[in-house]
């Protein structure tokens, strides 16, 4: 796990994330968000959890941008208006506050990681986290049914 690879990944993640929250073109924002999540999947690989990297790639870097692009298409919102000045000041103050808050919470440790394969993650998921796993499945079903009911046309 080399420092150069981490810095390259981190620099691209920050650049694409900043582009995703500042560009006025919504389609470009969605695509750069997908690239950000794809690079975060690379960070998960560096952290020794390939299962989570695969899930991140499939869900956050593929499915969610596609859904976002569909919604952009359906609501005809190609571009977002520029933020007002007070909103921008508020956002910058909030971001600076968050940075100061997280900076004092950062702890440094040694560089030794303990990788965790997909088999260990699956066993842990079905052994010690079985109840949250089932609740998550019910939650996903509820979200699916709820989204269909909410988005259905009244006269349909």
């Amino acid at each position: 796990m080399s420092l150069t690879a981490f810095y390259v990944l981190a620099a691209f993640i920050i650049v694409f994330a900043v582009f995703a929250v500042t560009t006025a073109n919504m389609v470009r924002a969605a695509f750069s968000l997908a690239i950000t999540f794809f690079l975060i999947a690379g960070l998960y690989l560096m952290l020794g959890s390939p299962a989570l990297a695969a899930i991140q790639f499939m869900v956050n870097a593929s499915a969610i941008p596609i859904m976002t692009l569909f919604i952009i298409m359906m609501t005809q919102s190609r571009s977002t208006p520029a933020p007002r000045v007070w909103e921008m000041v508020l956002g910058l103050v909030a971001a600076a506050g968050a940075l100061v808050f997280f900076r004092q919470a950062v702890v440094h440790g040694d560089g030794r990681i303990s990788p965790m394969g997909a088999d260990l993650l699956g066993q842990g998921l079905l052994r010690s986290a079985l109840l949250p796993f089932e609740i998550a499945s019910v939650l996903l079903l509820l979200a699916m049914v709820g989204a269909i009911v909410l988005a259905r046309r009244e006269d349909g």
């Binding site: 994330a17 960070l43 959890s49 869900v59 359906m74 909103e87 971001a95 997280f102 996903l140 988005a151």
Partner: protein, 102 residues
């Protein structure tokens, strides 16, 4: 050598970027995208702490998995609500839903 501090600092920077997006974006789709950045920053912090500090108990990775699940559910419901806002108001911007303002 990459330490835990690097990953936590990156998660903090991502959190700040997402917070800025939530505050400044006026299109509701863009607000939901910024919320996605916030959730991913939290998941990254969980996974990095789990990888560095937690060799036996892997609660951090399970948390990250559930964060992804909850984010997917939240995003689908949010988009359904947003579609209703677009049908009733014609635009998907947060200025459109300010009828409650006095």
């Amino acid at each position: 050598m990459v330490t835990l501090g690097h990953f936590l600092l990156l998660a903090g920077v991502l959190m700040a970027i997402g917070l800025y997006g939530v505050m400044t974006r006026r299109n509701l789709i863009a607000v939901l995208m910024s919320v996605e950045i916030l959730l991913n920053a939290a998941a990254l912090a969980f996974v990095s702490v789990a990888a560095y500090r937690d060799p036996q108990i892997f609660a951090g990775q399970i948390f990250a998995l559930f964060i992804i699940v909850v984010a997917a559910a939240e995003l689908s419901i949010g988009f359904a609500i947003l579609l209703n806002v677009y049908r009733t108001h014609g635009v998907a911007e947060n200025d459109a839903i300010s009828e409650m303002r006095g």
